[in-house]
């Protein structure tokens, strides 16, 4: 039985919709089978909460008197990009403080803004006839900004690599602290809860899809940077490495630091934990098959992060069931595993989204446009102009 989004929204409106989270659906399908599930279940909520470096926020400060055309801007000593209009800026999550280094960065500025803390704004300019002021130093809070919206160019990666370290010394990476002699393996995915692993071919997730973004309503704005839909896939549709990505947008003023948290990876830098929840409409039986995917059916590959090259040697594939058990076997030895993304918070987000839909404060959307299904990732070669 096939269902349209309109029919599903009608059921939500009448309080008749059956909504499960992406963990509950696994048991439901095992018990009732594909056909019955397609008929009975209307929406499955998926979610993820993990460090997503490719994140940041657009801010508009309003005009001072006399006005300034900000050319260099700092928020709590963290540089923000203001090579756009006079009082617009983009604060990137990974930018580091000029005074505190890795202890404080763009992600922390974003977190402080959401928490309504005062943030020091400093800007300089060359001065123009229409914008005579050359510098400004003042304090702002999110409440007196005109706009503050999160716009993350690449989030919710459809799968990601796992990391280990074969060298003799401890290394500090964006995959966390990696102990020598393959002392541990780290990974970062919500696995069976992850949005893009539950809709592997992005049949229902596209431009304009309404989502849960850090505690507020947000939208899929575009496909994310490094979107790589053509990666090899298993029969269940899931890729065994980073594939599709999405760019997301939402109102920072409505977000909560419960679902948007600054992070510092020791000796690596700053990142931002982003909470994303996506409702997947159960439009047909094929969708149920995708949604019933479990950790044991999703694979990733363990790479050696001590090799400082683009292509790292692989130590083979493992599934998320093994990774989540706490250890995996690597060259005949048990190795401890650790996860960067929080399964607990992801599950919580899936349930919050579920409660929003039940309360009829959140309805599903048809994508305005599908995400590209044919696109590959280029690499950056060092070339002269003639070699292009």
């Amino acid at each position: 039985m096939n269902k349209t989004i309109e029919e599903i929204n009608g059921k939500i409106r009448n309080g008749e919709a059956v909504i499960l989270n992406a963990e509950e659906i696994i048991g439901y399908v095992a018990e009732h089978g594909i056909k019955k599930t397609a008929k009975n279940v209307d929406v499955v909520t998926t979610a993820t909460f993990g460090p997503m470096c490719s994140s940041g926020a657009f801010l508009n400060f309003g005009h001072s008197d006399p006005p300034i055309r900000m050319t260099k801007t700092w928020l709590n000593d963290v540089p923000a990009y203001s090579g756009i209009a006079a009082v617009d800026a983009y604060i990137g999550a990974t930018e580091l403080s000029e005074s505190e280094g890795m202890a404080y960065g763009g992600a922390h500025v974003i977190q402080d803004l959401i928490d309504k803390k005062p943030v020091k704004l400093r800007a300089t300019s060359y001065g123009t006839d229409c914008y005579p002021r050359r510098e400004i130093e003042t304090f702002i809070t999110i409440e007196n900004l005109n706009q503050a919206y999160l716009f993350n160019p690449r989030n919710a990666y459809q799968n990601y690599a796992a990391a280990t370290n074969s060298s003799k010394k401890t290394i500090y990476t964006y995959m966390g602290k990696l102990m020598p002699n393959m002392g541990n393996v780290t990974y970062s995915s919500a696995g069976q809860l992850s949005p893009l692993l539950n809709d592997p071919y992005c049949r229902t997730i596209g431009i304009g899809t309404r989502i849960f973004l850090a505690g507020a309503e947000g939208y899929v704005a575009w496909h994310g940077t490094q979107h790589n839909p053509q990666r090899q896939r298993l029969a269940n549709g899931t890729p065994s490495g980073p594939a599709a990505t999405i760019a997301v947008i939402g109102d920072l003023k409505k977000m909560s630091t419960k679902y948007l948290r600054a992070a510092t990876f020791y000796n690596y830098g700053v990142s931002l934990y982003v909470g994303i929840g996506i409702p997947i409409p159960v439009i047909d039986e094929e969708m149920v098959e995708f949604l019933s995917v479990k950790d044991e059916d999703i694979y990733t590959e363990i790479f050696d992060y001590s090799v400082q090259r683009r292509n790292k040697p692989s130590y083979g594939k493992v599934n998320y069931g093994q990774l989540r058990s706490g250890n995996v076997e690597l060259r005949g030895e048990k190795v401890l595993t650790g996860c960067l993304s929080s399964y607990k918070t992801a599950l919580e987000i899936a349930d919050v989204l579920k409660s929003w839909i039940i309360k009829k404060s959140f309805y599903l959307t048809n994508p305005v446009c599908q995400l590209p299904s044919e696109q590959k990732v280029n690499v950056l070669n060092v070339l002269s102009e003639d070699e292009l």
Binding site: G176, N184, A263, T264, F265, Y273, S341, S342
Partner: protein, 135 residues
């Protein structure tokens, strides 16, 4: 009578038995092994509580140092800030004694203090700075 908690790190080759025996016999120190962890390849660590005369403990420590053992004062504690912790589950990958684990039912980080040998490996791994080594 003084009490001291120490973490001893010793190369694999050193056998603990005769060392602890000498602590008792030559220095009249009572000791209690609170935790021991010897991993192949990596060095061994034991968390030891010593009780005895202050000077004798001092002499005992000097003896241990002369045997090539590294000593850390362990009157410290690992403290997990539950408010800050996002339950990611990164720290369990650094904890060889499994004092830090993610509970398979609640998906929450659980810290079992009595298993902790205060090795300190977990201290700088937490992305949200929820792990503190308190002195």
């Amino acid at each position: 009578m003084a009490t001291k908690r120490l973490v001893l790190t010793f190369p694999e080759k050193i056998v603990t038995k005769p060392i602890t025996y000498r602590l008792v016999k030559d220095f009249d120190i009572q000791f209690n092994i609170l935790r021991a962890e010897i991993t192949a390849d990596i060095e061994g660590k034991i968390l030891l509580e010593l009780k005895g005369d202050k000077d004798k403990i001092e002499a005992g420590i000097n003896y241990l140092l002369s045997e090539g053992i590294t000593i850390q004062d362990a009157s410290k504690d690992i403290i997990i800030d539950k408010e800050k912790c996002v339950n990611c589950g990164l720290c369990p990958s650094l904890c060889i004694t499994k004092a830090l684990i993610i509970n398979r039912q609640s998906y929450e980080l659980v810290f079992e203090k009595n298993k902790c040998i205060l090795c300190g490996f977990c201290e700088n791994c937490c992305p949200v700075n929820a792990i503190k080594l308190k002195i």
